[in-house]
Structures are given as structure tokens and as C-alpha cells.
Symmetry: C2
Subunit: 369 residues, 2 copies
Amino acid sequence: MRTLGIVCLLAAAAAAPAQTPKNNSPTSPETHPDRKVTFRVRAPKATEVTLTADWQANGVQTMTKDDAGVWSVTVGPLEPGAAIYNFNIDGVAVPDPVNPRIKLRARTSASIVEVPGDGTELWNPGTVPHGRVELVYVPSKAALPGQTREVRVYTPPGYDKDAAHKYPVLYLFHGSNDTAAGWTDVGRANFILDNLIAQKKAVPMVVVMPFGHALPFGGPGDNTKVFEQFLLDDVMPTVEKTYRTAPGRENRAIVGLSMGGGQALTIGLSHLDLFSHVGAFSSAIPGDFSTRFKALLDDPVGTNAKLKVLFIACGKQDGAFARSQQLDKTLTAHKIDHTFYPTEGLHNFAVWRQYLGQVAPMLFRDAGK
Amino acid sequence: MRTLGIVCLLAAAAAAPAQTPKNNSPTSPETHPDRKVTFRVRAPKATEVTLTADWQANGVQTMTKDDAGVWSVTVGPLEPGAAIYNFNIDGVAVPDPVNPRIKLRARTSASIVEVPGDGTELWNPGTVPHGRVELVYVPSKAALPGQTREVRVYTPPGYDKDAAHKYPVLYLFHGSNDTAAGWTDVGRANFILDNLIAQKKAVPMVVVMPFGHALPFGGPGDNTKVFEQFLLDDVMPTVEKTYRTAPGRENRAIVGLSMGGGQALTIGLSHLDLFSHVGAFSSAIPGDFSTRFKALLDDPVGTNAKLKVLFIACGKQDGAFARSQQLDKTLTAHKIDHTFYPTEGLHNFAVWRQYLGQVAPMLFRDAGK
């Protein structure tokens, strides 16, 4: 019996018994007490149904059909956390038809299964004070003419109470084919920050999460360039006008995962006049890193004076690991201070939640001193 | 060429050309200039694929397969606005596999196609100042022990600027199998309010949108009763502590659609000590309305003095129309002041956006006078 504070945005799925509801579709996913999970889909006419999973390197599992036409597979035990999956029904990749927890994407969609832990995880809302996640509408001037984009902003607990306090800002970017909602809906960045702040392991900060696909996903053009312009010209001025943000580079961090890690490195290291903390999780790394940032690499004293934190993390089983490892070597060779944080793990929110919990306490430790 | 401010949370789908992207799946939906819409899904092995649509009374359309295994159908022209649809692939109801605009539900999910209008619609973000939508985490004491629920709260433009101003509050409820996100993600309640406020047709107000399935969707128990307790004991105190809300019944409205309309009527009319404005769109209406609210019906002078607005709206082609019509007759027979607003339309967000635009200007006109 769990007595922890559990966020039940969609209590139906979490609490549903393993029975066939009115619409004749089975319960899916069903998480068992041993953290094994059963996935089911009713597709009586299908000839082949598989499960695509983000929690294993070769993420395709065969499913088997019962007499009622319900395909199922039981996997795990899974690690506590959020896992993402799809079904492939006779060649059509679809989210779980009955699971309301949907992973929104820039194109397509998937399903989420949340495997409970023991309640002590940072991403668990627990009983600590909660900040808010705010949907802010940012009109673009030049980067995306005529467009208004939704940006998610986390304000920490107590933001309303002390009207004199100014907060440092973490700009936090999602990966390819994700959305501005990813870091909160799946990453639970807000609860991770709530817990770290309650434990006094991180300073209260505002976290800004824009939509990283400035240009249409999968289309032509230099997305990072347009995204940088939108960030610098539209998002940052709106944030600094709307929220009580502490001014100056020492109060700004820029961190991202995968594609967003590449954006954080590219934009952050190009603008040490604006940012003093840079982080990249499981990151895309510019192929021309050494030439693009030659001036920074060749001036370790100057760079280290400006760059308070440079955090590189990646799972050892992630296809992106070699590039992170190479970046670590390049930085080391040039005596650039940084933290390389390799862990067990793949390219998924299991490690990204962990990395946010690791880097957030490192941010803004000197600010205001 | 559209020059209006368009919210592109997910620009990929909106801007994608009608071509086959890398993953070999077709573009869907494709909205044509004449507001006809083509839906496509690649399912070469399927024997029957249909489109389920919320914009027509008999909402199932046959789709036809081409040589590449892509099923398609072109419908419309559709009215400007948001329409919701699913595919049924050999008996499996799924959202559109490639459309990132997902209608989140309490169970299952669907897809959204947004058909542009001429830009003058209230739900269009346009170039007016925008309020924010905030995700507030509300722990429950007695109604839902141990649970914390996400509640969406709209704060109007300028909320941060005048620290002395206190705002009236509209509690706005979604329908069955919807979520706390429905009224903003699909209903665009925030933009409707932004526009009405900019046009000085509505007073600036805070809008509170909780998750109406207090108990698991489809499960046993008296959901309205538990939801009422959660609303009164947990949501309202949190809102009044967190936001600068004007006190007293004259500054509170309670409005909902479908199941949420039933909740607004049941809770609102039972608590005229707390609410002075009640609205029900395309509403579920308690079967025992006349006996449950006998005291109110039998005291029109007293009831009319307390009830500043009682707004009942429904589409004439909606299966729920007869019940709204009957409620109108009952109220008229008992001389209870109210507005009955029948329109053309079905049970969908096309009418609900319209009804919010109609009722919001009626709210809080006397407050503070």
C-alpha cells in the first residue's frame, strides 16, 4: 500500500483494475508489484504485433495473441521511472490505444508507462512544496515571423511570496521529436527541482523550456540557428520581462538533452557573455566542435574564468556515448574545466531525470556572492 | 498567405508539405485552402480502415487504400476550429499515427485537426496580449487522500502588473473522458479570454480548470460527490491562497461542458453561498433536478436575487438537446431567471468555444459595484 503523494493527473489508468472495461479493450499497461509490466492491445485481425521499448538497446519485443484477439507481452522488472513505448500493429506504429499517458512529439506520438519506485526518487512529487509550471505565449519578431510559441516556465515554491527576490534562470532544452512539454510531462523537471530545493541541494531557480524545433521537424534549414535567434531575441526578453530574474551571465545556465544538448553547447559556448553554466546530456555534439570553439579551447584560463560549470553526461550503452567521451578528451586535452559524468544507461528519460538531479545542484553556487 | 499570429506549439505538422517523410508514412491531416481535409494512414495489411469524426452526427467515414497501402479520405469543407478524430484500423481505434496534435483523454486518446478561419475568431491568439496558463499542483486532504492533482489556471494579461487588483474566478469544467488540459489545449479558453478582455467585452478573470474525474474514469462510485469535495476543500483554498482572487460568491462562477455541465449545475446550485454564476454547455443534467433543487425552484425571488447568471446552451443536433430544452422549460415554469442559448451544432468543441465566448462577457458585470 503506497502512502506517498502521487500525482494522478490521469488517475484512471493508474488505478484501473486488470479487467475488460465497457469498450471491450483490455487494460494496458498493467504494472505488477514486482515492477514487471504487461502490455496488451486488442487487435484480433492483426497477423503481427510487436512492442517497441525505449528501455532496452534492441527495443522490439514480440507479442502473442490469445483467443480473444488480445496481444500481450510481460516485460521487466523495469527500473522505477518513466518508460516510453509503442505498438507496431501489422506495420503501423501507434501509441497504446487505451493508455491515456501520451508522450507528445513533434511528429507522431508514443505512450508512457510510469513504474513506481520507493517514493524517495527526486522525480516523485512527495509532500514537499511544489512550484508551478506556466505556459507562456512568446510572440516571435524576426526568427519566426507571425508566430507565437508556447514556452513552459517553472517557478519554484515560494516564488509569489518574496517579491524582492530575483531568481537565476536555467534554460532547459528537449531532444529531437520532443516538445516543450517533454521536460515536465515526462522528465518531471519541476518535481526534481522541488525536491532539490526542499533538500537545500539546489538554489531556487526559474527553468525555461522552449520548443526546440524552431523549423518544422524533419524539414530543411538550420534549426539550431533559427532556434538561437528565437531564444535570444524573443524567449529571453519575454522571460526577463515576465519573471523576477537575476541579471547577468552568472545567473544563466543553458542545458539540454540529445539535440537540445547540441543546442546548449552551440548556443551556450558561443555566448559566454550571456551564459556561465552549460550542460549536455546524451548529447548531439557539433561535428566541427574543435574548429568552431578553437578560441575557447586555446584559451583555457579565459574560458575557465567564464565557464562556472560545463557538465557532460551520457549513458555508456547509448549510441551517443563515443561522442561524449571524445568531447571529454578534447576538453581535458585543452585544460578546460568540466565534469564528465558517464553512467550506465541508454538514450532515455531514465538517465535524463538522473542527470538533471546531478547538474541542478551545481548551478548558481557562486551567484550573488 | 496568412499573416496572423498563429500558435505553433507543434509547427511540424502544420507546416509539413504533403510528401512522404523519411519514415515512409504519409502526411496527415492535410488541410486544403478550401477547408477540405485529407486524412491518411499507411496500413498496407489492413482490410478495413475508417475515420471516426466528431464533426458529424454519424461520424464514421470509409477510407480507401491506394497501391502503396495508404488509406485516405477527404472530407469537408470543415468549419474553422478544432475537430477531433480517430482511425479504426481493422477494429483497433487509434489516434492518427503521424499527427502530433493529440487530444489527451482520461482513457484512450484521439487526434486533433485545427482548421484555420479568417483570423478574427475569438480562439485565435492574434496579436492581443496573452495571459498565462499555469499548472498548479493541489494536494488533496480528505477527498483523494495521498494524491496531488494538476489543476490548470489561467491568469489574464497584466496579472503581474497591478499587485493590488483582485480577480473574480471562473471554475471551468471539462467533459467525460477529457482532462484538465482540454479546455486550453483544445478549447483555447485562454485565447478566448485574452481576446474578450482585449475587446473589453469580458472583465479580467482567473479561470480554474481541474481534472473532473476525481474517481477513475469508468469505475464505480459517485464521481461528482468526490469531485465536489476536492473542489471545495482542496482546489478553492489553494487557488485563493495562490492567486489574488476577489472574495465572496459574487466573484465566483462555475461553468462546465457535458459531464462538467452536470457538475457545475449540481455543485453550483447546491452552493449559492459560494457561487453566483452558473453555466452548463451541452450538459448532463441530474435526472432528479426538479426534486433536488425544489427549494430553489419554489423560491424564484430568493433564487433570482442570488443567481446573477444561469446560462444553458446546447446544440440542436446534440443528443443532449432535449434535456437542455426540458431544463429551460422547468426553469421558465418556475420563473427562474436564466439564459437558454440553443444553437446549431453537435457535441464538440466547435460549440463549446462559441459558448465560452458567449457566457464569459456575462460574468461578474456587477462585481465590485
